[in-house]
């Protein structure tokens, strides 16, 4: 279970977040610059709150008066906006980047089949489309078998057909993996289709919470 209860001063407002998330899918909606990505960054350890706590399955990621846990130790899968694939590595090298030799990759082989990227493995990021990049990046985020998955605007660069397909794949993955997933989106329709819970964030405050 993910517990979030923190505040962080941003340029124009104070970001205040408080929620608990079990093995559910949660959507964060709200206008640009409202603090959604900062929340993901705080959970991942890329940014740190000013005060409060973040824990996952009883492990403190951040707690007042304690040194924040290193990013590397948090076991977070993070799909960045625009995917941030390593441009000098092909899709397969991107996906297997963090794995040491001899690691069991059967779950990755299965993922590449589910997400339909088996044919893309030898291609470089600049050789594949937005939807394909999204699927490669999602496979990469899941490759190290994370305890939580963070997705920042995962569907923003996709056309309607690809969006639908990727969303169905995400639901399928969640059903299999049973880990908490937080995704940021601008589109309420995405949130309604995928999420068990939706939090609307406006100027750093949780304005509304919907549970489906």
């Amino acid at each position: 279970m993910l517990k979030v209860d923190f505040q962080k001063q941003l340029d124009h407002f104070n970001l205040v977040m408080q929620f608990e998330l079990d093995r559910e899918i949660m959507a964060l909606v709200g206008s640009s610059g409202s603090g959604k990505t900062t929340l993901l960054n705080c959970v991942a350890g890329i940014a740190h709150p000013d005060a409060g706590e973040i824990t996952l399955n009883g492990t403190d990621f951040f707690k007042d008066k304690q040194k924040p846990m290193k990013i590397q130790k948090r076991k977070v899968g993070y799909l960045f906006q625009d995917y941030a694939l390593f441009p000098h590595l092909n899709a397969e090298q991107n996906i297997l980047y963090a794995l040491s030799r001899g690691t069991d990759v059967s779950h990755i082989t299965e993922l590449t089949k589910i997400l339909g990227i088996t044919e893309l493995l030898s291609k470089y990021p600049h050789q594949i489309s937005g939807g394909e990049k999204q699927r490669v990046a999602l496979t990469r985020a899941l490759a190290a078998q994370p305890d939580i998955l963070l997705l920042d605007e995962p569907f923003s660069a996709l056309d309607d057909a690809n969006r639908d397909r990727c969303q169905n794949e995400l639901l399928r993955i969640h059903e299999q993996w049973q880990i908490p997933i937080i995704f940021v989106t601008h589109r309420m329709a995405d949130a309604e289709k995928l999420a068990d819970r939706v939090i609307r964030v406006e100027k750093g405050k949780m304005a509304e919470q919907l549970v489906f």
């Binding site: 890329i46 990013i71 590397q72 000098h88 963090a98 990021p125 600049h126 985020a141 190290a144």
Partner: protein, 227 residues
Amino acid sequence: MMAYDLSPLWLSLRVAVISTFFVFVVSLALARLMNRREFFGKSFVEALILLPLVLPPTVIGFGLIVLFGVNGPLGILLEQWFGFRVVFTWIGAAIASFVVSLPLMYQSVLAAYEKVDPRWENVARTMGVSEWRIFRTITLPLAWSGILAGLILAFARGIGEFGATLMIAGYIPGVTETVPLAIYFAYEAGDMEKAMFWVLIISSLGVAAITWVNYWRKKNAIRIGRE
């Protein structure tokens, strides 16, 4: 054209290769530190690194003599610990090359690091990868074309160093006679043919280096592509 003793060329290459090696290692670490850390006096430290770019070579040479001279603090230390002198040796020429080419390499490496999107390093961190491995496998390969351009510039600057070299290493034919010194003293002696010979050699090296950097940049851009 008569045959000339090629020892200035070999000495220049030796001086430039050795100074460029140290410039490479120091710049990589220094630029990384300046790119990643904020600390009190950072601007001052950066100004010190870049200072040789704006100082006359005579000032650099003078500074090196004060530091590495027979009575200079570092000169005494090196002689006591390692038993060698810097003044009037090719090592002095290498140190002069190091000092003048370090800021060029530092600037290139810093710019190259800054071009590496921090998201790539953050993605790797979330995947549990160590900082050292991220540096080796993400930062360095993606910054490499800028680093290589800096390396060639540093090498070219090192091989062409004249003023500070003359002050600390002096002109001793066969011992500290680098190509730029050979050109100057051939000209002084009225041997225009010899001066022209060395001018052509060093100019050819410069053209070859710049051509290769441009070729490498284009090739690298195609290899890496754009995301």
